[in-house]
Homo-oligomer: 373 residues x 2
């Protein structure tokens, strides 16, 4: 056999998860799925691969350029490895589940990949978990989704969860109403607001939008500053909705508002939010209201990307109590102890030793006894 | 937005799993992982994608031709979407976990893909679950692995599990010893044995191997017929090993022996086995002893491909009891009922109705009451 000198290398941005880290991922995934399930979300499983054209047609504003693409020898069409599951769940809602009653609650968990990582996160593959409430983008829908997202993160072991709200169509709403802007200026204003550049904003002709830069921060103060903006009357329903959602989750999460932040979600409608937790670098997830690409059905959902949480907890992840089973052990006793939560490690030869195999206990007769003297 | 007329189509051999089927997959995956974990197998998570050359160098006899391949814009090297996780776990054992104590017990669960399905199974993506016992290919190791595989299938809901044993290096062992064959004849004999073609076997010069065709069937009789073959002395340790393993799992599974069957596993050494269950078309999994490609370390393991079981059980898969929560419901009562196993479905508007949303019960005060009159 010829040996490739780079045989042991993985491509940049791809990695093996070893037991501690894999156990953390598995525990987090179960906890999040269990919370979503308990709130009535049914899991669906779309495939890893789809036609690129099909994926693109439902992404409306996003592109498939970030996806691994390749020609299908069967159909001779271009396939893409998914970089997002939300789009696939939207497709399922619009096709296989088009006849299911609305609101339709769906959830998912799976790996996604992209051809390039970024400065903040070089990973090119990660786990995406999420829930979509299809057929509703009301305040009640958004309140439920935010609450489920927080509960899911807590169940996964995140502490100090915070939610940063935004109003993705804020500039359009103001520009179509009390603070008119032409199309070119509108785009420039959005850009300067994203950059939080007050000077640039004035220069771009967006002076009237200056208060938005200051209407960001702790939720209660920020929402009042937003309400005080000239022409904020057109925002009344959004502001009332934000307050209702905040009221519902108050005390369970730190709440902030950054009304003109766009998070790069081209398909969000009136509400967006980003999720953070203590000790985790970067966002753990995001969500909001949107229209499903293609069917244009209203929906609300969130996606979690728990890699940051895994990094934060993996060193302390508990792999469970291990019980060594000597040669000729009592198999019924071993089965009983497994059913009580022990992980058994059976000796295969006289050479196997409890401590070396990570066992704190050994089976002695029908009892687990400590191997530490 | 332009609409692709094939937007709703998935590529051949790829499918969405809707709630019933996705729930069956999730339940089966958890059950199998829990059994492997309880027997001391630690989960690892290799990436979906690797360098093609790296994957190929560890596959020793298998090829990457069945894999989706594409050029990595980062490294400009060819990547492959995995078609098998066993090879990746072997790599992990030989690299990241090379220093871990042996025997090393690892397990995994994940999606694999291949560019072409086959007549028996057109699927191009499926779930693979399995366990690898690294550092041992003894009878004790094989006995443990067969037992864990059976227990995992039972926990997943399979009934009438059967195990078909084989001896992958049987022809080589006989041909190197009492029933000599030159290399060309050896390959022809293997081929005719696979085809169970007695005439072809004689024509190929393998008359002495005829009894192997008849040494297949119910385990106890077949193993005696194998033992009676001229020159079977070289098989003594294998036959004793088979009997010991059969003794260990007798009563838990139907056992058969097909000593010259190869299952297409080029990398198996002395023992191979295939797993079946009642009501499931085709094999549910396979396993055996082998040498890890590259490091040449002894190992024993099994892989399950539960799609057939999912098909068999999905119509009856239980999605759980759903409890409708009317507007203004008691949130603490709802949380308590969720913790007791209920799945709650909250009304978002007056239009939402319990029965239409699949709820058998509704929350009335703090109690769940039936909505069926």
């Amino acid at each position: 056999m010829t040996t490739d000198p780079t045989r042991d290398l993985l491509p940049e941005g791809l990695e093996d998860r070893l037991p501690q880290s894999a156990a953390a991922v598995a525990r987090i995934q179960r906890a999040v799925l269990d919370v979503m399930r308990s709130h009535g979300y049914d899991r669906v499983r779309p495939p890893l691969i789809e036609f690129e054209a099909s994926m693109a047609s439902r992404m409306d504003g996003l592109s498939t350029r970030q996806m691994f693409r390749f020609v299908d020898p069967k159909s001779l069409r271009t396939l893409a490895l998914r970089s997002d599951i939300t789009v696939q769940v939207g497709r399922i809602a619009a096709t296989g589940l088009s006849g299911a009653a609305r609101p339709l609650r769906l959830c998912y968990a799976g790996q996604v990949a992209r051809i390039a990582g970024d400065m903040l996160d070089p990973r090119r593959e990660e786990l995406q978990l999420g829930a979509e409430l299809v057929g509703a983008d009301s305040v009640a829908a958004a309140g439920e989704v935010v609450e489920v997202a927080i509960e899911a993160l807590e169940a996964a072991g995140a502490t100090g969860v915070s939610v940063d709200f935004t109003l993705p169509d804020l500039v359009d709403t103001l520009a179509d109403g009390p603070l008119p802007l032409d199309a070119a200026t509108r785009e420039a204003v959005r850009r300067e607001l994203d950059a939080k550049d007050a000077g640039g904003l004035v220069e771009a002709g967006g002076e009237a939008y200056l208060p938005l830069i200051h209407a960001a921060g702790a939720f209660d103060e920020a929402v009042e500053r937003l309400d005080a903006i000239d022409g904020a009357g057109v925002l009344d329903s959004r502001i009332a909705g934000l307050k209702e959602i905040a009221e519902r989750v108050r005390g369970r999460a730190r709440l902030t508002l950054d009304p003109s932040e766009r998070h790069g979600f081209a398909y969000q409608s009136w509400l967006g939010f980003t999720l953070y937790a203590d000790g985790v670098r970067g966002a753990l997830g995001r969500g909001g209201t949107y229209r499903i690409g293609g069917s244009d059905e209203a929906a609300t959902g969130f996606s979690l990307y728990p890699e940051g949480l895994v990094e934060a907890v993996k060193a302390d992840e508990d792999l469970g109590r291990r019980l060594f089973l000597p040669l000729g052990h009592d198999r019924e006793a071993a089965a009983r102890l497994r059913s009580e939560g022990w992980r058994t490690v059976a000796a295969l030869s006289e050479a196997d030793e409890a401590a070396e195999l990570g066992c704190s206990h050994r089976l002695d007769g029908a009892e687990a006894i400590s191997v530490r003297s």
